[in-house]
Structures are given as C-alpha cells and as structure tokens.
C-alpha cells in the first residue's frame, strides 16, 4: 500500500514526463502537418515528376518502422534526443498525413479549381484560398485517427533517451522494486486520457469549423 504513497510523491515527476510527451506530440504533429500538406499538394497538383517523387517519399517513409527512423535521426544528427525524435516522428507523420490530405483534396469537386482559375487566380492561389480551406475541414475526421496513433507512438521516443513519461516510470519502477504492473497500468491510463481528450477536442473543432451547406464527412 505504501506504493500509493510513493506514487503520490512521484506524481509531479511523472507529470513533467507527460509535459515532455505533449511537447513531443505537438512538435511532431506540426512538422507532420506542414510536411503532409506539402507532400499532398505535390502529389495531387505536381507534374508527373514531382508527384512521382512525392509518392516515393511517402511510400518510403511509411515502409520504415518508427523505431528505425528514430535511431537513424538520432545517430545522423547532432541534436538532443527530443529534437531528433520530433524530426523523425514528424517526417513519418507527414507521410501518413499526406495521404489523409490527398484524399481530402481529391474529394473537392474539380469545379472549385476551375472556378478559381476562371476568376484569374493562379494555381497556387486557387490551392491556397479555395481548395485547402475546404479540404482541411474534410480531413479533420481521419486526422483524429492519426492524432491518436501519434500520441501512442510518442512512447517510442523512450528508446533514444527522451525523458518522457515512459522513461520516468522506468526510473520509479527501478527503485520501488516490483510494482511494474501497477505503474505501467497507470501510464496506460494516462495515454488513454490523453488520446480521449485530444479526440474530444478534435470533434469540437470539427463542429465549430463545419460550413453549413457543405457535405459533412460521417
């Protein structure tokens, strides 16, 4: 029973780990968002060469396990583990997100682009001002799946030394001798809450951004 006392004392320590996890998550999702949008636009609107290159890049990034990417960036770059993890997991996420955005962009009726061009917009202006605002709203649903997936993958950063919640719980287990089941159970609960909260926020966001009159993704 004293384990609960120890845990209560260690709660701030674990909480700091949670903050690092969240920092990692926001970092990698942002890298993934920008990279994913870029790759998606390239794949849909690029010429034959550019779209083929974009396709190869995302196929390659998706074929490699997250752990391998983490190690690759850890040993290739001279940055602290948190930064290399954000880069590695962010790149991988951008490959997955590019597929989400590509699907959303391709669901926008081509008439939208035609109308934009006929008003004198360049292709880029059409993409930025007309297609992407609509595509992003369609993408929120699948994107919340990606969000849940990435939240869980942040636990992998533990193997390259990021001192997030997994590593901190290891420390606690190592000096309380044998309460691994309980502590990892609590860690699992923390991830569950994190995922649920994020998803709830994304549902709310989807509600808020929904434009009346436009098709809602079920």
């Amino acid at each position: 029973m004293e384990i609960f006392g120890v845990l209560a004392g260690e709660a701030p320590y674990l909480f700091k780990g949670l903050l690092i996890t969240i920092e990692l998550l926001i970092g990698l999702l942002s890298v993934g968002l920008i990279g994913g949008l870029f790759l998606a636009v390239l794949e849909v609107y690029g010429g034959t060469v550019a779209s083929k290159i974009a396709m190869l890049i995302q196929r390659g990034l998706r074929a490699v396990p997250a752990l391998v990417l983490l190690f690759l960036s850890y040993y290739a770059l001279d940055f602290p583990p948190l930064v290399t993890s954000i880069l590695a997991l962010g790149l991988r996420s951008s490959a997955y997100q590019s597929q989400i955005f590509r699907g959303a962009i391709q669901s926008i009726k081509s008439g939208q682009m035609m109308a934009a061009r006929s008003m004198g917009m360049t292709r880029i202006q059409g993409i930025w001002h007309v297609v992407i605002p609509q595509a992003i709203r369609l993408a929120i649903g699948p994107w919340s799946n990606e969000f849940a997936s990435e939240t869980k993958d942040t636990s992998l950063a533990y193997v390259v030394g990021v001192v997030e919640i997994m590593r901190r719980s290891r420390y606690i287990i190592s000096y309380t001798y044998g309460n691994a089941l309980l502590i990892y159970g609590i860690v699992a609960l923390v991830y569950l809450i994190l995922t649920r909260t994020g998803n709830a926020f994304l549902y709310w966001l989807e509600d808020r951004l929904w434009v009346p009159g436009f098709e809602r993704r079920s």
């Binding site: 490699v64 690759l72 040993y75 869980k152 636990s155 533990y158 193997v159 691994a180 159970g185």
Partner: protein, 226 residues
C-alpha cells in the same frame, strides 16, 4: 566514393547476420497476425451479434487495447506479469503483446466489414431456415472477410513494422541484431540505413503479394468501395 564502397562492403559483411534477425521478425509477424486474426474475429462477432454483456466486455477490451501504446502493453506483459508470478521469455511476451494488440484492431476492421454486408443477407438466410451461426459462417463471413482484405493487409504491414518494438525487451529480431552489430563496429548510422532498406524491401514485397491475393479472391460486383 570510397565511403559508398565501404558502405556496400559493410552491407555484404553483416547481411547474413541480419538475415537471422529478419527470419525472427517474419516469424513473430506470422504468429501475432494469425492469433490476432482468430481472437479479432471472435471479438468482432461478439460486438456485432452478442448480447449486452458480450458487447460490453468486448467493447471495453477493444477500446482499452486500441487506446494505449503498444510499448506500454509490451512492458505490462514482460515486466508487469512477473509481479503476479508469470515469467515469460522476451519472444513469447512480444508475441502475446503484439497478438493482443492486433486482435483489437482487427476486431474493428472485421466489425466494419461485417456491418457493410447488407442486412438483407441475414434476413434471407434466416428465411430459408438457416441458424444464425450457419448464416454467419456460410453467408456473411465469406463476404465480410473479402471486404476486410484491404484493411487487413494494412494491419499485416503495420505488425511487420511494429515487431521492431520487441527489441526493447530483448527479443532477437532484426532491430536487436542490428543494434548489436552497430555497437560492435561503432557504425550505427550505416547499419540502420541498411536496416531501413531491408524493411522497405520486405514491406514493398508483402504489399505486392497482398495486392495479388486481393485480386485473386475478389468477387466481381461485391467490391469494397463507396
């Protein structure tokens, strides 16, 4: 240029040793995906056709397993179970953890597929006197499983990549072998680049094979699509 030659020399030297690891990786994938298939199918049937209690239990299980990281599940099984007296070797623990994890995801894919088969099928089957179980076995599942092939192949590829996590508990698969070799030669970056290539080759190969399988078993007119 000389670095490139050194790189290929290294690849040539360590290839065979990495091959042992690759075999273990493939074995682990095969074991967990097949046990996951059986458990996942059972779970999905429980979620679609079960009574309130069965539905509650299976849904809770699926939500818990899908909502928590694989790494945490692996650690609970490998480091946590000894607390209650169950000691497992790394490979077995990894197989069980991966199997449980994939069964929850597969349960969701199968549930979606089963629910896509039109309700009229079950009604028709019952009206000619089939039992529920008979109808599920002979009518619904053959259609549902074909509809589930794209998501299932996706899951297979995912599992192939997630076996790399088994290295954190010491299972002798590809990542573990790679780390040992890299540490011995101090050539971490090159070794992991080679490992990345191995994974790309395996994943691409599996994807192509699965595409062919999907073509062969599909029923014209009954494709999954919107």
């Amino acid at each position: 240029m000389s670095e490139l030659i050194e790189f290929f020399q290294l690849a040539w030297e360590i290839g065979p040793r990495l091959l042992d690891g690759t075999v273990v990786t493939l074995e682990l994938t095969a074991i967990c995906i097949s046990s996951g298939f059986i458990i996942g199918l059972a779970l999905s049937l429980g979620r679609v056709y079960g009574n309130k209690l069965v539905y509650g239990v299976t849904t809770t299980f699926v939500e818990l397993v899908r909502g928590t990281p694989l790494l945490v599940q692996l650690f609970i099984i490998y480091y946590g179970l000894p607390d209650v007296g169950i000691l497992l070797n790394p490979l077995l623990a990894a197989g069980i953890a991966l199997g449980i994890n994939t069964s929850a995801y597969q349960a969701e894919y199968f549930r979606g597929a089963i629910q896509s088969v039109s309700a009229g099928q079950m009604t028709a089957a019952r009206s000619i006197g089939m039992t529920r179980f008979g109808a599920i076995k002979s009518i619904i599942l053959p259609q549902a499983l074909r509809l589930a092939i794209p998501s299932w192949s996706n899951e297979l590829i995912y599992m192939l990549k997630y076996t790399s996590l088994a290295f954190t508990v010491g299972a002798p698969e590809l990542m573990a072998k790679a780390k040992i070799i890299a540490a011995r030669n101090f050539r971490y970056l090159e070794v992991f680049i080679i490992v990345a290539f191995i994974y790309i080759i395996i994943v691409t190969g599996f994807t192509k094979v699965l595409d062919i399988v999907e073509e062969r078993v599909k029923i014209p007119g009954l494709e999954s699509g919107k």
